[in-house]
């Protein structure tokens, strides 16, 4: 009997009128967990019932605790007929199952009905008494912490990063069961909500078990997705990164741990197996001996590799030691071997993280991606979802081999996605091939020395750019130059990655959002013919998306992309490709060349003129962009740099494995062969259109920046105002003249207009930056395109933004070194803001444009509340007293945002897709929020049409997320993501349905101003380690 769940129903408010005669409601509540149900008494004739129930106690297995949601149903008692349901609340009790998170769930939850939306609120208290269970064969994994955040959470330290965990569960979709024909839409929706809740609980438990098996205690970068496969079922799948995390109590407590490796350095012989991981015994031993006994060379590395693709693992330092420093070579090789062995044991050396502890990421190879088109079939045995598992395993293998080809042993920033249309499904996976530091992959006590030696050779800020593959044995044609920063190692001319910009990277100027958008028409077809058609189109799409990205990057005068996410969506009669990334200028990489236009028919004079006109326009745009994004790299003498015209380095591999012949693998080289990629040949009108469309992208209005990464490169003085939002647009294409070009233009306009609308709407926040801009495209019907955007607007201080790039570079270097010591948590810019050298403007943020009138209004409300008890008539309150209370009212408001529930009004809960809150410190993680809602209507017109319906629904979803967070005792959701927003309409029948799935991490944060005492003490305490940190890095 491992757990006792206790639930108390306190009260309800704002209930709907259920009895027309009396305009009142006789409400009672059913509390259900598993198969046990309790009921409260009926509270007659009230819209604000006070049940104040006893504690309902459920005695359950912890397996059930993890899987099952707590179901609370509010009903209206009816003496003569069946009781009417008012609505439901599902509460995920998972956060109560691990000790450090929430201890109690208590608060007002919106009562939700899938047909009517939110109908009042209910106050519930939930507690769990958990007994320790020492059974080794248990099926539960209570205690494993889950984080959506794709970096090491702020108040934790990563001891070991174990690696990839994945799981999927399948079931029949209740919407497609026979019973659905006879039950009400409400019953069907609720069955679906309940099932998905149950499935995600089960999934989380199973992943937890895997983590325990790996001896981890947490999953970071947990991403759970649903595939609504229609007839063939419902798949819930999740990936994440297993870690062993240590809670940081105070910075000082961590220091000895950090210093200890260097002390032990001499005692540890280099040939000792540095990998205490039990899984790594056996096969890796001979390899390691070699590592120690011989100086690194090609020969041994060939021995170690089992296939030809591993050739590129040859340590390049074998040849390059002259430039890398004498002792650097062997150590680096040793490191490589060690890392490889640590990773070799794993089936998939993948990491869903996008930001890493300093020193973790050694080199970045480039983006690796794989796609596969599959035909869906009914899943016959839900307990053995072998086909789906096999599909994903296949894709992951592909990714792994791509990474190997790039000389990398790991993939970071890894993610998976699907796009389904009828019975065809595109599975996609992508990530960034990388070489990692083994320090975090094993037990943290032994290695230290290696890593420190390594860092001596790696100048901060450019190390990750250095190529991991062998120069003489390159997997694809690329142009290499010596690093512009350290001049010792080779770097590519362009770098594409799916991760966030490493914090120690040296960036010149600011970054910007770069998008490639593409549509391709496709004939309508059935089943296999359809799958084949899609498979044939995919490589072309991929190629064009890459070309567009590359051209736009050049047009911006930048040389690297971070956070690249390519989404290919399949519809009945078209394919859509949308790639988003944040372009930056990395100081370590060469200056990008311009774009040359060449005509195919040079004899025509006017044509020539046109071409030169275009060329001029392009050159002007590049110059303008360089100015806009403040890209002014220092001039470098040309002697060590290779040819001034860079050659293409862009690469990606594509897997086309059709369902009928999945063994056949075609690789596509996207590197444009030997041709110079940046000469655009205009040979027909299509090409001309392409060039035009390049130039139509309008930069954001002044004062606005946008990026799809966590933070904007080049801005590091955020103020505390944030506004998270979701915007959805659906356009209907006129079915008549659908050409690829019209389609492209429509799609392009849709995205551009959407961005313009966002800039306009958020203009009051200027200067601000749209961060983590996340576009999702779906094709709900033949002629409909739906684009969903979620992002957060963050204000920043303009004055401080004007600091010179040089100062920024110095600062970032400095920060990198101090952060190295300081906690190994992620050194986001805001951390440094707490230092006294960057005083935070304390009051400015919360109300930027509220007039004094508004201030007075707020105080009126405060005043009225105060007055509530002291009703006195006739006495005329003068405005003077109102004014006097005004500052107090404002003060209350500000405090409330930090400490919710202190006041009677609703506490503010912030939501952000980022992993941090500007100007604040996250003090506690309360658990994962993972919610799934369905909303349906049969009175679409009455609810304000499709816009009104969806607007209200999304607002309700936000409200329910906030309510859950507040009930856990939190005041913010970080790493918030809307993973799914499936919208279907049938205006003729006046009906619409929408499914939304959101997730995030519930946290408690405290404003930095409140932590002032702590932060002023911190630098003093850190003084000592900061010095040693400096020694290590230089």
């Amino acid at each position: 009997m491992p757990g006792k769940l206790k639930v108390k129903i306190v009260a309800g408010r704002h209930l709907p009128v259920m009895d027309r005669a009396s305009d009142l409601t006789d409400a009672f509540v059913e509390v259900k967990f598993g198969n046990t149900t309790f009921k409260t008494d009926v509270y007659p004739k009230s819209l604000n019932p006070q049940w104040n129930s006893e504690w309902f106690k459920f005695e359950v297995d912890d397996e059930d605790l993890q899987d099952e949601p707590l179901q609370i149903t509010v009903l209206d008692h009816d003496t003569y007929s069946a009781n009417d349901a008012i609505g439901k609340v599902y509460i995920d009790i998972d956060p109560l199952l691990y000790s450090e998170a929430a201890t109690v769930i208590s608060g007002w939850f919106p009562i939700y009905d899938t047909i009517h939306g939110i109908r009042g609120e209910i106050n519930v208290v939930v507690k769990v008494d958990l007994f320790n269970d020492l059974n080794r064969f248990r099926q539960s994994s209570c205690g494993v912490k889950f984080f959506c955040t794709t970096s090491i959470p702020k108040c934790y330290r990563a001891v070991i990063i174990h690696g990839f965990v994945e799981e999927l569960v399948v079931n029949e979709d209740p919407e497609y069961q026979w019973i659905d024909r006879i039950r009400t839409p409400r019953a069907s929706n609720e069955a679906r909500q309940r099932l998905i809740s149950l499935m995600s609980g089960e999934l989380q438990r199973k992943i937890g078990l895997k983590v325990l098996e790996m001896r981890g205690n947490a999953v970071v970068g947990y991403l759970q997705c649903f595939d609504l496969e229609g007839e063939s079922g419902l798949v819930v799948r999740a990936i994440g990164t297993a870690c062993t995390l240590d809670k940081l109590s105070s910075p000082a407590a961590f220091l000895p741990a950090c210093n200890s490796p260097s002390k032990e350095m001499k005692e540890i012989p280099f040939n000792e197996d540095p990998n205490p991981n039990t899984h790594s015994s056996g096969p890796s031993t001979p390899l390691k001996n070699q590592t120690y006994s011989f100086s690194p060379s090609k020969s041994y590395s060939r021995q170690s590799s089992s296939s030809d693709t591993d050739l590129s693992l040859t340590p390049k330092t074998g040849m390059g030691s002259g430039s890398a420093g004498k002792e650097g070579g062997p150590f680096k090789a040793l490191l490589r071997q060690q890392t490889q062995s640590a990773l070799e044991q794993r089936e998939f050396p993948f990491f869903t993280l996008t930001a890493f502890p300093p020193g973790f990421l050694v080199h970045v190879g480039g983006v690796v991606s794989a796609r596969s088109v599959k035909l869906l079939d009914r899943i016959h045995n839900p307990d053995e979802p072998e086909t789906r598992d096999a599909w994903w395993a296949e894709i992951r293998q592909e990714i792994k081999s791509h990474a190997k080809a790039l000389g990398c042993h790991a993939v970071v920033g890894y993610s998976e996605s699907t796009s389904i249309c009828e019975e065809v499904c595109i599975l996609s996976a992508s990530g960034t091939a990388a070489v990692l530091n083994p320090r975090f992959l094993q037990d943290g006590t032994v290695e230290g020395c290696l890593e420190q030696r390594l860092e001596e050779n790696l100048p901060a800020g450019c190390g990750f750019c250095h190529i991991p593959y062998d120069e003489l044995n390159m997997p694809f044609p690329a142009h290499l130059t010596y690093c512009y920063n350290c001049r010792k190692q080779k770097v590519p001319d362009v770098l594409f990655t799916t991760i966030d910009l490493p914090t120690d990277a040296t960036v010149i100027g600011k970054g910007c959002l770069i998008q490639a958008r593409l549509c391709r028409l496709k004939k309508k077809a059935q089943a296999e013919a359809n799958a084949t058609a899609i498979s044939n189109l995919l490589p072309f799409m991929e190629y064009e998306v890459h070309t567009q990205l590359m051209n736009k990057l050049k047009l911006k005068g930048m040389n690297a992309l971070f956070g690249l996410r390519i989404q290919i969506t399949v519809g009945e009669n078209m394919l859509m490709g949308l790639a988003s990334a944040t372009g930056v200028y990395l100081a370590a990489l060469p200056t990008p060349g311009g774009i040359q236009i060449a005509g195919k028919t040079p004899n025509d004079g006017s044509y020539e003129q046109h071409i030169s006109h275009m060329q001029k326009k392009i050159n002007d745009t590049i110059a303008k962009n360089k100015e806009l994004y403040e890209i002014n790299p220092p001039e470098i003498s040309e002697e060590i740099i290779g040819s001034p015209i860079p050659e293409p380095r862009q690469r990606s591999r594509l897997l086309r494995s059709q369902s009928e012949s999945s063994d056949e693998v075609t690789e596509l080289d996207l590197s444009h062969g030997k041709k110079d990629a940046f000469v655009l040949e205009i040979d027909d009108t299509d090409a001309m259109e392409d060039v035009h469309s390049l130039l139509t992208d309008v930069p954001p209005p002044s004062g606005f920046y946008s990026c799809n990464t966590e933070i904007m490169p080049g801005i590091n003085n955020w103020t505390s105002e944030i506004q998270m939002f979701t915007s959805v647009r659906v356009i209907r294409l006129s079915s008549l003249n659908l050409t690829n070009h019209a389609l492209n233009k429509n799609f392009n306009d849709l995205c551009e207009n959407l961005l313009k609308s966002l800039y306009f709407k958020l203009r009051s926040m200027i200067p601000c930056c749209l961060c983590h801009v996340n576009f999702t495209v779906s094709l709900p019907e033949d002629e409909l395109i739906q684009v969903t955007v979620t992002a957060v607007a963050i204000t920043f201080d303009k004055n401080q933004a004007l600091q010179t790039t040089k100062a920024h570079v110095e600062k970032s270097l400095q920060r990198a070194s101090t952060d190295n010591e300081e906690l190994l948590q992620f050194p986001l810019e805001l951390c440094s803001d707490s230092l006294p050298s960057h005083p935070f403007p304390p009051a400015k943020a919360t109300s930027v444009d509220y007039s004094s009138f508004a201030d007075r209004c707020s105080s009126w409300i405060e005043l009225i509340k105060l007055k509530a008890q002291t009703i006195r008539r006739g006495s005329i309150k003068t405005t003077v007293t109102v004014e006097k209370t005004s500052p107090m009212g404002e003060g209350n408001f500000r405090n409330r945002s930090a400490a919710p529930c202190a006041n009677s009004t609703v506490g503010v809960v912030k939501m952000t897709p980022l992993s941090f809150i500007p100007g604040a410190k996250i003090t506690k993680y309360l658990g994962i929020i993972n919610m799934f809602f369905i909303r349906e209507t049969t009175s679409l017109r009455e609810e304000g049409g499709v816009s009104g319906f969806l607007h209200a629904f999304i607002a309700e979803v936000f409200a329910m997320v906030r309510a859950h967070v507040a009930a856990l005792g939190g005041n913010a959701v970080v790493s918030y993501i809307m993973k799914q927003c499936v919208f279907m309409e049938n205006p003729n029948k006046n009906q619409a349905q929408c499914l939304i799935n959101v997730s995030g991490d519930a946290v408690v944060f405290a404003r930095e101003s409140e932590l002032e005492v702590v932060s002023t003490q911190q630098p003093a305490a850190n003084c000592q380690p900061a010095c040693t940190g400096g020694e290590v890095t230089t």
Partner: protein, 323 residues
């Protein structure tokens, strides 16, 4: 290419004050867009008309969804669906319940019934205020009236508590409710020169001094109805005109009280007898409902004297209670 669906939902609900005003003023989305274009917002922000249209639609939809909550402002404070900073909530409420001077003068003292609502068309044409805005204002009056009608305690406080209005606006609503309840005639041509502020001032003094609540705050604390006994007692005031001694005494007391405080003091002093007679005649008739309704008409007709309106202080109003 047509936009089927176009929405923006923020975690904090965005409120654009300018669009809110246009919405409150009853403009259609099209008119509102045209007005915004005229304000030069496109040039300032570099936005396109399509962006403006989408933005306006979006705000209108938000306001429409908030309207239900604005009908019971405490609900707006406690609801969970829209996260709005308290200062913005107060602004929404205050602006929603704000009314036009021109409109309130048309309906002040009228019964807030369906009949009056039918006349809103005419009022709209007459005042130039959109019918939609007229309806909102009328419904606001009616809603406040319904809520506080049967309540005990201070009228102003009741309004303030249940509608979370500012002090000034709550007092205005108290006046509107008080006038509507007692059906004072204010629409006659003779009364046109009086502003709503003038009437509100009267209402406040009447509530303080003439109602049931004013007489005995313990027993029947009602601010809405005039104290019948008090009106009956006013009949006794005849002596102030009939008895010469009392007239003189009254005059000297009034003059002492007002000396130096009134710009037109000398005229008042000279005309005191006429003024006093007029006022007393009005006062003694107040036992009939019809005469109560015509109170302000009678005051202007029978006790105007040479005195014009003085700084919003009607000259015929007794400066101090006589009882």
């Amino acid at each position: 290419m047509t936009s089927e669906l176009d929405i923006f939902v923020g975690n904090t609900t965005l409120i654009d004050e300018d669009v809110y005003r246009l919405w409150l003023d009853g403009y259609s989305v099209g008119d509102a867009v045209a007005l915004r274009v005229r304000s030069g917002i496109l040039e300032q922000t570099g936005a396109t008309a399509a962006v403006l249209q989408s933005d306006t639609m979006d705000h209108y939809r938000t306001f429409h969804m908030l309207e239900r909550l604005l009908h019971a402002p405490p609900k707006l404070l406690h609801q969970l669906i829209y996260q709005i900073p308290p200062s913005r909530q107060a602004l929404l409420i205050e602006r929603y319940y704000a009314f036009d001077e021109a409109f309130v003068r048309e309906v002040l003292g009228k019964k807030l019934s369906k009949g009056t609502k039918k006349d809103l068309d005419d009022i709209s044409t007459k005042t130039g205020i959109t019918l939609k805005s007229c309806r909102r204002q009328f419904d606001n009056f009616k809603r406040v009236f319904k809520v506080v009608e049967e309540m005990r305690g201070s009228l102003v406080d009741n309004v303030q508590q249940h509608f979370l209005l500012s002090d000034r606006l709550a007092r205005d609503y108290a006046a509107i409710v008080f006038f509507a309840n007692n059906r004072f005639e204010t629409g006659k041509k003779k009364l046109q020169y009086l502003s709503f502020g003038d009437f509100a001032f009267c209402a406040e003094l009447m509530i303080q001094n003439w109602t049931l609540g004013a007489v005995d705050s313990q027993v029947d604390d009602m601010d809405m109805d005039l104290d019948k006994e008090f009106l009956q007692d006013l009949k006794e005031l005849k002596v102030l005109v009939a008895d010469k001694d009392l007239l003189d005494l009254h005059k000297s007391l009034v003059c002492t009280a007002l000396r130096g405080k009134l710009g037109v003091f000398s005229e008042m002093e000279a005309n005191f007898k006429n003024l006093s007679r007029g006022l007393v005649n009005v006062a003694t008739k107040l036992t009939h409902n019809k005469d109560v309704r015509d109170l302000f008409v009678d005051l202007v007709e029978k006790a105007p004297g040479p005195l014009g309106p003085l700084h919003g202080h009607p000259p015929w109003l007794p400066p101090a209670p006589l009882s």
